[in-house]
Symmetry: C2
């Protein structure tokens, strides 16, 4: 019996290391006053036909269910969240929501990309402002920083309307055609890029000009546009908005933030600011990505609800955290309760339950083993052994042995403070 | 755009109440020294053909994937966990594993039963003992007790080998045929039960005798068997084992535990002790259920690995916890940072990030609103408002207003202790 290709079995050592990702994301969301939501793993395929793009549709695990419905395992969060949002009329705006669930895409598995993965997702609905753009990007940085990745990643920002103005001023009539090309800028050779740009209506000269500004990261004090002949009042307004967002974002993180015109995001529904985070070495796929999508609710329901959000998968994040040794080794702390003979077991169980109820990770040997075999198991699993025999049972005491230094303490089973001190 | 029948959208108030279920189950598992595992949501359908029973197979969300494989959304945990276990030769026994994921069954949705649900699952592998039987049932009670359900549920225990001996002594040649009948004992009229038992070879008299002992709960001091002419040394050995398990189980919980011969569990793979928990009023479906299944690993891999475990869905549990008001209302605590005018926003954001980094749930108004509108939002969302204006910005201070009593405190933004005290 095999597991399916692209799906993971996560064994205890790995699962316990990964817990940190879920815990930190939840804690940060709460500190930012985002509220949790859950939504189905299965949706009507039509939900993704609206705006997700054909690439994504081709990658779905979709099928006809027993009721004859064309359904799919959810490949991304946004359509479900927006469906949920517009299904109720009593949501008070702004609404700040987060979720952390599994998603599925039928792609070729590779490093940082499985067919099943967890994705953290956060969105702010009901407000279109510099402050909310900064808040959502700020949350993404706050999570990475809280995971210990401060200084080890770069946040790259761009803006869809700005890009459309740049592309139009360089002779591209339909800027949407250029986004898929730009999305591949670091993946295909420059000659191919040039060819692709010329094929959508650019001259060689303009394509060169475009690639010269698109292929680089800028600080927010830089102005790569004036010298390239790009400008105008509409352009300046948009560029100012990004710079103002960046200024606020510096309040959230001290990590590097750049303007990067090659960040355009694949999905069709973005309408404003877009962003991605990459590890500083640039060797991994993006850690997270998102942007503003003010049009999706209206397409679904006729009601306009401004929205900005991002998604962050578990796979690249886990690789990066492991590279930097930022996931704790599974606790070798904890206690194993050992007993001298089988008739002591009921008292040993009393001791065990006492320690558990105090919050200690406590194990007890569940089969008939000699004390020395029990102590051997304790040594490999735990930081402490609690040993009980006839003497301890008679007196209602515990012998607590520190397995590192061998020092033993005898305390009463009723003495919670004494037990705590012996286990420090 | 509708969601699918039997699938849930969980909005923030509900999602935040439900967090307790996940947190308590995780904490209890850790205190019991169980280790987390994760496994796929999609498996080959063949995995369930081995031993899950045709009822379950008929309820799967199964389909042919793009690679031509017959796959299914996982309907239960056990086959995946055992597949994972036998896939590695380096697992040290006993292994105590838990998981908490989603499962799917194509059944008619009703109260406490959705087509998509979460299930907590815990297993002990590699040991067949009274102690491990007690440990797994003890964990199930410990979780219910920790959720606040102590005294509000009953644990009902039975034993498959014991039942087989009882059924054989009452003239049933193939006891496995009787289990599906007994499983419906509280759901169908007695006349139908009798008819079904006679159809599998019992006389009217023996069927009456069976129903007279099966339809009741017994304390572990009771002996309903001798008077019914059931006994023998093999029987006594098995009955003693259950009574010894029960005696240990009393160390784990003070909730009610009964012997109930109607608890037989639907799934085919159980080989020993089986158990279920019900709410005391008996009006809901079972809260959790499990048992010993020593044969499944061998069927899958040829290697014998004793196993005992249980599963607990989120749906019945959530209903029960809500009935007893044991899920906290979503925090109306927290802080909203308010500012007197837009030029103060950067300083307000400094205050906000200071409070977040101290672990407080902190919100800030993300659009241009008057101070009074901000304070109105604060009053409905938060326990405290932190107000900053020109004065505060100049001095580097915060005005902290308790929104219940209106009392205000002014503290320096650098004074973490002072901030903590004002927010107590």
């Amino acid at each position: 019996m095999e597991r399916l290709k692209g799906f993971r079995d996560v064994y205890p050592d790995e699962a316990e290391r990964r817990k940190k990702i879920f815990h930190v994301a939840e804690r940060c969301s709460e500190e930012f006053s985002f509220r949790k939501v859950e939504f189905p793993s299965l949706e009507l395929l039509d939900l993704y036909r609206l705006k997700s793009g054909s690439d994504l549709l081709n990658q779905t695990f979709s099928f006809i269910d027993k009721g004859g419905r064309e359904v799919t395992l959810t490949p991304e969060a946004t359509p479900s969240v927006v469906r949920m949002l517009v299904a109720r009329k009593d949501i008070r705006f702004p609404a700040k929501w987060y979720s952390f669930q599994r998603y599925w895409r039928y792609e070729d598995p590779q490093s940082g990309r499985q067919r099943e993965f967890y994705q953290y997702n956060a969105d702010i609905f009901g407000v279109d402002s510099i402050e909310s753009d900064a808040e959502i990007m700020g949350l993404s940085c706050y999570i990475l920083d809280s995971l210990g990745l401060g200084g080890k990643y770069r946040l790259l920002i761009n803006d869809r309307p700005l890009m459309e103005m740049i592309l139009r001023s360089l002779g591209v009539e339909n800027p949407l055609q250029a986004f898929p090309v730009l999305d591949r800028i670091r993946k295909i050779p420059e000659s191919e890029l040039l060819e692709a740009l010329i094929s959508i209506g650019m001259t060689q000269q303009k394509a060169d000009a475009l690639l010269s500004i698109v292929g680089r990261r800028y600080d927010f004090g830089d102005d790569p546009f004036t010298s390239a002949g790009i400008g105008g009042s509409q352009f300046d307004t948009r560029f100012s908005r990004i710079k103002a967002t960046w200024a606020l974002l510096k309040k959230y993180t001290s990590s590097s933030i750049f303007l990067d015109l090659s960040v355009v995001r694949g999905l069709g529904y973005y309408t404003g600011m877009v962003f991605e985070a990459f590890d500083s070495s640039g060797s991994l796929r993006s850690i997270l990505g998102g942007g503003r999508y003010d049009g999706l609710a209206e397409i679904m329901s006729g009601r306009r609800v401004p929205a900005v959000g991002f998604g962050m998968g578990d796979a690249v994040l886990e690789i990066l955290l492991n590279e930097h040794s930022l996931l704790d080794d599974p606790s070798s702390g904890g206690i194993t309760v050992c007993f001298t003979s089988a008739n002591i077991y009921p008292y040993a169980l009393d001791a065990c339950m006492k320690l558990r109820s105090m919050g200690f990770r406590t194990d007890i040997v569940l089969s008939d083993k000699s004390l020395s075999a029990q102590l051997k198991q304790a040594s490999s699993d735990s930081a402490y052994a609690v040993i009980v025999g006839e003497e301890e049972m008679k007196k209602g005491s515990l012998t607590i042995r520190n397995l590192k230094d061998g020092i033993q303490t005898v305390v009463s089973i009723l003495d919670s403070e004494g037990i705590k001190n012996a286990l420090k």
